[in-house]
Subunit: 245 residues, 2 copies
């Protein structure tokens, strides 16, 4: 998750809600922390003194997914004074101290817990291209179902929920769907993505008409499935509309 | 603008773009700093260690306008590493030092300028109710035309422009217009607000139809102007839709 040194801005972090779409599920990347209890965290970290905030988010994203140039947008500031409970603070600082005895602990001169403000981002990645990578603090790092989130540290669940809300607002308006699919996709795959994100069915004929009327897709050859006649067409976003990275 | 002490988070500030509407102009509040050159700044300040970030923005807003419970929303983080030029830093820290010789200067142990990250907000207030208040750093504090901004310190002009962009996006969608008008208004006043914010004319009949079709306004008595027959109707947002504060 994060570790602070004098090279970092003292009380400011970034956290990333990294979404991927797989088998009709909208997934996000979580770390299972090395703790006795099962507690999960969003990928995040401190911001370097010389680093733009957005570059800090890109760095975290790259560390955890190995990919760059993906869709990334700010969700907002998580800045409640009490966003980190005493219990979460104890658990986390104990873990950090064990792993990195030389690193400055996140406490002030009076030995009180240091307040942290986090700038949250959401990112959209092609699930097929990403194998989540753990860091020292993690027992594991993997994809989890956004509809069935485990117990999360700090206010990370609120961040995940805000990410989902903003994704719903923007999927259509900002044509974000192509960031969650492979470069080419069938109409059925696109519809399944919409049904998953909005958590409701879209009648197939209406959906196809609505999407094609937007005049944003390019139809390609049929997907090869063995039975040519029944094969669905492949589509991709028109190249002049691309909004990747 | 801001002064930091040990009670504050070291490298984090808030800044507010406070909009008001007057005589067909969209205005915002700026401080003219006590400097030889004419340099202006948005109202802002450091965040107290015990204070929610949003409460810091509300505090700044109250200090400068004397009012509370107004529409306030986060614009985003201004977090470029080089957002404060050396020249602006010199000017501002010199001024702060003169006024407050006892206050910790915004430099690090190596005597280098300290990087500041700012969370920007925008607020919508009733122009008639607000007399901008200056603080010690200001020569004056007043309303300025958002279409004709003076030279601003740091990246404050970008914040003002982002505020205008977000206001345009949201005026209609989030029914924000009532926050910029008195509680009751004529259709003409509402139209003038739209024309000002979007900087284009709206044909009167179309505009009235479009707004009334939204079914969000309540029609009240005619505005008293002396000539009753020609007096325009007054409207207000239906009370169940209010989004103030």
């Amino acid at each position: 998750m994060f570790l602070k040194s004098s090279k970092h801005i003292p009380q400011l972090t970034v956290d990333c809600v990294i979404f991927g779409f797989h088998h009709k599920k909208l997934k996000l990347i979580l770390s299972k922390l090395k703790l006795e209890k099962d507690i999960y965290a969003l990928p995040g970290g401190f911001v370097l003194q010389e680093e733009d905030i957005e570059d800090a988010a890109k760095r975290v994203l790259f560390e955890r997914t190995g990919i760059e140039d993906v869709y990334l947008e700010e969700l907002g500031t998580f800045g409640r004074a009490n966003r980190i409970s005493d219990e979460d603070f104890q658990l986390f600082s104990h873990l950090a101290k064990e792993l990195y005895p030389d690193v400055e602990p996140p406490i002030n001169e009076k030995n009180q817990k240091m307040r942290l403000v986090s700038i949250a981002y959401y990112a959209l990645v092609d699930f097929e291209k990403v194998i989540p990578k753990k860091i020292d603090l993690d027992e594991s790092c993997d994809w989890y179902d956004s509809q069935d989130l485990p117990h999360m540290i700090f206010d990370h669940r609120e961040m995940a929920e805000k990410g989902l809300e903003v994704l719903r607002d923007n999927l259509d308006k900002k044509l974000l769907f192509n960031n969650l699919l492979s470069e080419t996709f069938t109409m059925r795959e696109l519809q399944e993505l919409y049904e998953t994100v909005y958590d409701k069915p879209f009648p197939a004929n209406n959906f196809q008409k609505k999407i094609l009327d937007l005049n944003i897709l390019e139809r390609l050859d049929k997907k090869f499935t063995g039975a040519k006649s029944k094969a669905p067409y492949l589509y991709r976003l028109k190249s002049n509309l691309s909004n990747k990275g």
